[in-house]
Symmetry: C2
Subunit: 238 residues, 2 copies
């Protein structure tokens, strides 16, 4: 499955992005709301999400506020305000999944787990490290923590410092994907990590983020290239 990020700052920019992205037929769209200038107004966020959902024609929407701590944009909101925004989006049922970082306050995670479940919205609990790759054991423990916290999907994105780290991430993904009950999504970032965006699915990652119009993280490849490699790998693995 391929997910394409939307990173527009305004409704106009998001509209242009959708025009570029939708013909490329991604399996999922991630709206990175931390790029959106209207983020502080929950009603505006809900309207925008509804507009994206209407345009997407059935493609599931993943709603994500990435914190600056984990690679996102500064938004000048308190965590309580962020949780209230997620709540408003869940109440409006204008997205299909939400991504929330597992390093957030435990009460906030439990609250959004409860709210999202009540509205039939999936919860992705995520962990990002932009400068290093933890050990295989630590990565597997993070995947397990996401499941313990009630996630429907566990997501980990880390930065390799050397090629060996790429193999560590793939080993952890393979282990977690065969032992956990929920789907796992993983990637190494940056140039080395682009290998995992292309081949990680073969080791159990359920989703790869690829560029439709604009990139949201280092090492993302164009959706056309990912489709080409996926087709060749699937044919080769028979």
């Amino acid at each position: 499955m391929i997910c394409t990020p939307l990173v527009g700052a305004t409704p106009e920019q998001l509209g242009t992005e959708l025009d570029m992205v939708l013909p490329k037929q991604p399996d999922m769209l991630e709206w990175r709301v931390d790029f959106f200038h209207g983020i502080a107004n929950s009603a505006e966020v809900v309207r925008m999400a509804q507009s994206i959902k209407a345009a997407a024609g059935g493609i599931p929407i993943l709603f994500t506020r990435r914190s600056t701590r984990e690679g996102g944009e500064p938004i000048g909101m308190s965590e309580d305000q962020v949780v209230a925004m997620y709540e408003a989006v869940c109440h409006a049922k204008c997205v299909d999944l939400i991504d929330f970082e597992m390093s957030n306050d435990a009460d906030h995670i439990a609250h959004l787990r409860s709210i999202s479940r009540a509205h039939g919205i999936g919860l992705v609990l995520s962990f990002h490290h932009f400068s290093a790759t933890p050990s295989q054991q630590e990565l597997v423990a993070r995947f397990e923590l996401a499941q313990q916290l009630g996630a429907d999907v566990a997501k980990i994105a880390v930065m390799p410092q050397r090629l060996d780290d790429v193999l560590t991430l793939l080993s952890a993904t393979l282990q977690a994907s065969t032992t956990l009950a929920i789907p796992v999504v993983s990637m190494s970032m940056g140039p080395y990590g682009s290998l995992t965006r292309l081949f990680g699915f073969a080791f159990g990652s359920a989703l790869s983020f690829a560029v439709g119009a604009n990139s949201s993280a280092p090492g993302q490849v164009p959706i056309e290239d990912l489709n080409t490699v996926l087709a060749i790998v699937n044919k080769s693995m028979g």
Copy 2:
């Protein structure tokens, strides 16, 4: 670098293969002489190798007798006769590299190392396991053994029983490629292993075997597919 095998049984079949393979511009051709019906006649083998070299227009030729023990065809020759054939080929300087299995008799390896060096021909010392993947430590020890035995290139091909074995092969390749003085070539075979044929180069494997006309081992991908993936991975890794 991409190497394409030639597996014809007769000069006519090899000619047809060359006609199919050469337009695809591989970086190397491997003549698997164990498929050749004329193998018992060294003069005929030398003539055929000269004919391949003439047709190849500068593409290096790797000359390989694969034993039945390591996945090759039955040839009904003693090991002394096989060594004499390799010697004749070296004397005629009709190939650029020879592949000899490191499980062969130590005296035979030392002899062919000496003969090939005297004639400016490279020596690939190889190890194949068609049913399993040894541990990372054992694989690295095999690569090191090839270097100790005087190889110009160390080659290992193994069969994965599970996806984890693919990562073991890649880890061993990465380790050996960064610690040895000679190039290493590695692959996992079969469907899982095709992953290593497509992106093992990123982890230090100097050569991948791809199909130009006919396959010589399980999991080989068409040269066109390998070229496509190589271009995308190289672009993605920037």
